[in-house]
Symmetry: C2
DNA sequence: TGCAGGAACCGTAACGGTTCAGTAGGCCGG
DNA sequence: CCGGCCTACTGAACCGTTACGGTTCCTGCA
């Protein structure tokens, strides 16, 4: 009985001697037929091994897939490796759950240009999470005649958008460090473009960055530091393609090697900051006495080690994106959700003068 | 132009004066038509705003959805909160990625019996991860005429299966504790059945457990301890429905309150163990001097705090499940993957005699 | 000149449903 | 006896595509 099931709504109807409509109604509109007949239909279905209306055929007819697609810049598995991404996913999953919708993770290898996965996705809409502006997958999503919500991206056409004020958020951090007295800093950032570059990022590269969030943060930092008379050209920025603690370590090493005079490292993510923390301490320098280190995101691991960082509500971000997508707004009017961030003063940033104090006494 | 897109493969064909087949071929089989015509098709498609073949209609025709469904016992969002689940997901995502397949997370609220989400899922197969034996969602999956792989479940009909030797694994831990000299232990376990029960779990409840893994582990523990003459009836087992650190804390509290004489707490998961660790220390008892605590899973957080636990390869589990599902085996012969586990001797389990030693000297 | 063979394209039949405008019959009030 | 309404069910159109098995036309070669 379990070998093959050519049972279909039509064959079931034939077996019962009723119309297909009636069988369909038995499943979808119980009030449209007598209880006895309905029972008979369902019983026969069980007997014949009919698993109920085929979801794909139904989707075709109803134009509803019952799922939202998630497109992110990284390998699928990355979504589960980065705590910030996991937080976002959790929020998105919550929103989907509330709406009874599925969540389809779309495989989009950033190194390849294979857009087929986007075309193949049977979804009612897309959530696009922090992909580069020129990503072909994003373009493919825009072509699809379904709504989309972008997250941590510049606003596109008339799409709904979710994000934070990246500029304001990181400026708060910059001002915090400036207030502490730091003048010589270095920056660690995530990938700026689809083309791999592990090393210093020139100002030009920063300006041409296609990863919106990273670009925004660097621009804001430049503004903050130029505002107090520091030449941004002279501020070393080291970029890493992979977003891992190991990347943070090697980037920090590179930075400290070439710019030993800096008193603080600002990272555009907590993961990088955690790596920087490791590397710095491995080199025998104390944090924050010898070097201040700051992150961005506010992931649990960061809070545990007392990282000074900017907390952004990743879960809320995901939830907001899901909600925006699932309860469609007015046609012409794109919506925007901008979430609040919060400076978390941990124990990894202090005044650089404390160094002198250690040497020469207070 | 972006308002409505009634453009379809048929309308495009009509516009071009070619057959639908040809348009279809332009997308799917470029070698079946001349490059010029193909270009003309694609150009016209762009002009008309035709987004390419509809994925749902394609799925219906080809009988391929290009996605695998994941069913788990918990709220969707739970999958992202539990590190072990995240590890599993990462592995599963890797396998999906390799096969160019999507991963559809199916919302299956464990408290409700709403099975529609399973019926609605347009997928080529299911991965079922640790749901209770009597879960209606599981039943719904079995009805669907697509392959399924179960994980951490008893083998079903002729489904592929992935798991570990839970019995052997936890016995190793039990023997480790016994070897250290522990005779009076308490156990913290995860939910045993769909019906909520936060408190002591009687032997009968243990035997009737519908969560296969938990049952297996408890049974194995009973065997291990009865083998050295301990009456399992006398061993306190405390169950928690929610799988959180807070649950671990309250369960440990309950256990220590009613059974202050125990020298070790064995937990069936690291999360519970981390909670137990907190609670124990908050009560002013030292670990492992005053009390030994063991976990199960080997999550990162556990390793960080030096928990004595059993490591199981969650990522490999997910990957194996995905692979099994994606490269279909022989029809009649269900496959089974059984992964290895490993005892991790951390710093949270020690000989109970060290207590006496502390009091009376060595 | 005849013909084999391949390249390029086409027509039809599914794929498995949902939906909507009916229709037949029963019941009821007038 | 008639008109109207309700219940229970039906028929046919439609959703948008791909699989299958052709047909047509052109080229090259004997």
């Amino acid at each position: 009985m379990n070998v093959r099931r050519p049972a279909t709504l039509a064959s079931l109807a034939a077996e019962l001697g009723v119309s297909r409509t009636t069988v369909s109604n038995a499943y979808n509109r119980p009030d449209q037929l007598s209880p006895e007949l309905r029972k008979r239909v369902l019983d026969t279905a069980r007997r014949l091994g009919y698993p109920g209306p085929d979801p794909v055929a139904r989707s075709l007819r109803t134009r509803k897939a019952g799922a939202v697609g998630l497109l992110l810049t990284e390998n699928l598995s990355y979504a589960f490796r980065d705590p910030a991404a996991v937080g976002f996913l959790e929020g998105l999953a919550l929103a989907c759950e509330d709406a009874g919708s599925g969540l389809l993770l779309i495989p989009a290898n950033p190194e390849r240009e294979d857009v087929a996965s986007v075309h193949r996705a049977g979804v009612d809409g897309f959530v696009v999470y922090s992909v580069p502006d020129d990503d072909p997958h994003l373009a493919a999503v825009l072509e699809r005649p379904v709504p989309a919500v972008v997250c941590d991206q510049p606003s596109i056409e008339n799409l709904d958008r979710v994000g934070i004020d990246d500029s304001r958020a990181i400026k708060t951090m910059a001002e915090h460090l400036i207030g502490l007295g730091h003048r010589k800093i270095g920056v660690l950032c995530m990938r700026l473009a689809r083309a791999r570059n592990d090393g210093p990022a020139s100002v030009q590269r920063q300006e041409n960055a296609s990863f919106h969030v990273q670009k925004k943060r660097l621009t804001a930092l430049a503004e903050a530091f130029e505002a107090i008379g520091i030449d941004w050209e002279q501020v070393p920025v080291v970029e890493r393609f992979d977003h891992t603690i190991a990347s943070g370590e090697s980037a920090a090493g590179q930075l400290l090697e070439s710019n030993p005079e800096i008193t603080a490292i600002m990272c555009t993510s907590d993961i990088l900051a955690l790596g920087a923390l490791n590397e710095t301490r491995n080199r025998g320098r104390r944090v924050p006495e010898d070097l201040s280190i700051t992150g961005f995101d506010g992931i649990t691991e960061a809070e545990r080690v007392g990282l000074t960082t900017v907390r952004q509500p990743m879960l809320e971000k995901g939830r907001a994106a899901g909600r925006l997508l699932l309860d469609a707004g007015e046609p012409g009017r794109p919506r925007e959700v901008r979430l609040d961030t919060q400076l978390v003063t941990g124990s990894t940033a202090a005044s650089p003068r404390s160094v002198e104090e250690r040497w020469f006494g207070p």
